[in-house]
């Protein structure tokens, strides 16, 4: 998969900002501010507790096209109290949303793994919502040596 490199996207930003605001095209690179907006939508502005999500991502990724991400949340999964939704955000991808996971008490564990694309070095944030309205968060910085543009 080839996506525009972060370097190239930065050069084009003035024109892109206009495009992004007009909503007619996907911005080639989201800004951390957009990621924050996306996270704010999910959390409703409430603070999230850290330390409950074990988030596994490589510190350095050789290939931005396929990076393994896994998380495991320390939280009960009973009908009365369970993790309901987990949002994964990449703050400098063309679009910040990576995936949304929905769990049920039948999940047994609020844990999942997948492979993601990162356009360049950036922070990946995982935020979880629980059935009793709490929020949990974890964040990892991933250095990407060859971004999802093939170099």
């Amino acid at each position: 998969m080839r996506t525009i490199s972060r370097r190239d996207a930065l050069l084009l930003i003035p024109g892109l900002t206009a495009l992004a605001l007009s909503g007619t095209a996907e911005p080639l690179q989201a800004t951390p501010a957009e990621a924050t907006t996306e996270i704010g939508r999910f959390t409703g502005g409430k603070t999230a507790e850290s330390g409950k999500i074990a988030l596994d991502l490589p510190e350095i990724a050789e290939n931005g096209n396929s990076i393994t991400l896994s998380f495991d949340i320390d939280h009960p999964m009973t009908p009365e109290r369970h993790v309901t939704e987990v949002l994964v955000i990449a703050d400098s991808n063309p679009s910040p949303r990576v995936a949304t996971f929905r769990f049920t008490p039948m999940s047994g564990r609020a844990a999942a793994a997948t492979r993601i694309r990162l356009a360049g070095t950036q922070a990946v944030t995982v935020i979880a919502k629980t059935s009793d309205g709490k929020l949990l968060v974890a964040q990892r910085q991933v250095k990407v040596t060859v971004g999802g543009c093939g170099g």
Partner: protein, 107 residues
């Protein structure tokens, strides 16, 4: 996509055991960001949703975005209390739905 999705899950489990399920489906997951050899933007076409149900009850679901790598791999857990049938569905942007099923028996 003639290839069948690949699913790894145990054939048997103890009652109340949490089993790990691994799924893999062949799909290019065109992000809509890529340019072809003539410089034209290749339109977005991805698997945007995956769902797993057990004996008809939804257990796990996810919305996938273009940031999910090609040939989407998904691993998740299910607590099995009874024998039954897992059903898995993958939904493409174009509306195509790919399905698969796997049985599990409580030992």
């Amino acid at each position: 996509m003639a290839e069948k999705p690949r699913i790894r899950l145990p054939k048997q489990a103890g009652k109340g055991e949490i089993v790990e399920i691994k799924t893999l489906i062949a799909h290019s997951m065109e992000s809509g960001q890529r340019k072809d050899s003539s410089g034209k933007l290749v339109p977005r076409k991805i698997i945007n949703r995956f769902a797993c149900a057990f004996n008809g009850k939804p257990v796990f679901e996810c919305e996938l975005e273009p940031a999910i790598a090609a040939n989407p791999y998904l691993q998740f857990s299910v607590k099995v209390e009874e024998s039954g049938l897992f059903s898995f569905t993958w939904t493409d942007d174009d509306g195509t739905v790919i399905t698969a099923e796997e049985k599990i028996t409580i030992a």
